[in-house]
């Protein structure tokens, strides 16, 4: 990955340090499995700035899903809890995805529903963001990440997390992001 080029792209709502390492991890992961052009679906794209990173650094085919086109134009617009929206994304991909990045709702029932609906269609990676939010934020991703880690899935899953400690003495503004990767195989 060209680290100089990384610095030139507009950042999504992510910790820059965490996002760089996450992409580096995924680069090695897909390369080792001979996946040159992974199909990556992002659920909750907001300004859709991740797309350029996936395309440039992972050679990915990126499909953005969002319920709104207020900030950017998603490839699939609609409620991501709808099986019809999932099917449209599957049709675009021509089958299951290599990776699903979940970053839409933050409350537990919705987060769990997204995971249960989209997760089975990820062949390799399910990413959750943000998993290290503070008590002041909704705990959906944080709770799901903890539950997945605590439940015995045998060798089905591996868990990788990235945590950039945002420098602040105020606990409400620490650990605002955090990316969790559930790896299959």
């Amino acid at each position: 990955m060209d680290l100089k080029a990384f610095a030139t792209l507009a950042m999504p709502v992510q910790s820059r340090e965490e996002w760089r390492l996450t992409l580096e991890f995924l680069e090695g992961y897909f390369r080792n499995r001979g996946i040159e052009h992974p199909v990556i679906v992002e659920v909750g794209i907001q300004s859709n700035l991740q797309k350029a990173f996936y395309e440039r650094f992972l050679g990915a085919r990126h499909i953005g899903v969002d319920c709104s086109d207020k900030y950017s134009k998603p490839d699939v617009m609609g409620d991501a809890l709808s099986p019809a929206v999932l099917q449209r994304a599957l049709d675009m991909a021509g089958g299951d995805f290599d990776m699903v990045f979940l970053d839409a709702a933050q409350h537990y029932p919705e987060v769990k529903a997204y995971f249960d609906l989209w997760g089975p269609h990820a062949r390799h990676v399910i990413a959750l963001h943000p998993i290290y939010t503070t008590e002041a934020h909704p705990d959906g991703m944080r709770r799901l990440w903890r539950e997945l880690n605590e439940e015995n899935h045998g060798s089905e899953y591996r868990f990788v997390s990235f945590r950039h400690v945002v420098g602040s003495d105020d606990a409400c503004f620490r650990y605002q992001y955090g990316t969790g990767l559930v790896l299959k195989g």
Binding site: M1, S15, L21, G28, V160, F162, G167
Partner: protein
Amino acid sequence: MPNTKVTDEELRAIDRPNQNFLEWKTFLEFVKTYFENRGMTHPTVVEIGTHTGAQKGHYERFLGAFHIGIDVSDKYSKPDILGDSHGPETMTRLKALLKERPIDLLFIDAEHTYADALAEYETYGPLVTDIIAFHDIKCIAEIGRLFSDIQERERNNPHVVFLTIGAWQSGKYQVGIGMMIKQRNNG
């Protein structure tokens, strides 16, 4: 940096370290990419607590690393430095082998007590430029607590990212590798 991919076949072709296989594979995949992206073709790796010494072959095969193993015992393998990691003579011997090179990756896996691992972190950490890894952060509570405390201690360091790797095996959540990544040479 060797072209050898971190695959199951390649990993099984050499001695297997005392590690959860999936965690170890994930760890190697990541550090290989990290060093490649920074042009570090022969990173210097120091391992404290080598046990059977099997990790050395992996670091050399997959990373092209210059590896220095430290252990208090030569019962299971012959470490590069035989001695107590807390002893000043061990540091003297390490510096002689390093020849003023920094440590690119430090892997702490010796005495699994809070005090011992903290002392190793504080003694050897200042020599490390990029990655400090702790083994057994999930299965040994004291090491897990130390890793959490270090995250809290480093909260005002904007360049540091903490990475954890975990996997289930044989009904247990083991063993857990925690990494503190200092991220230099980001372009």
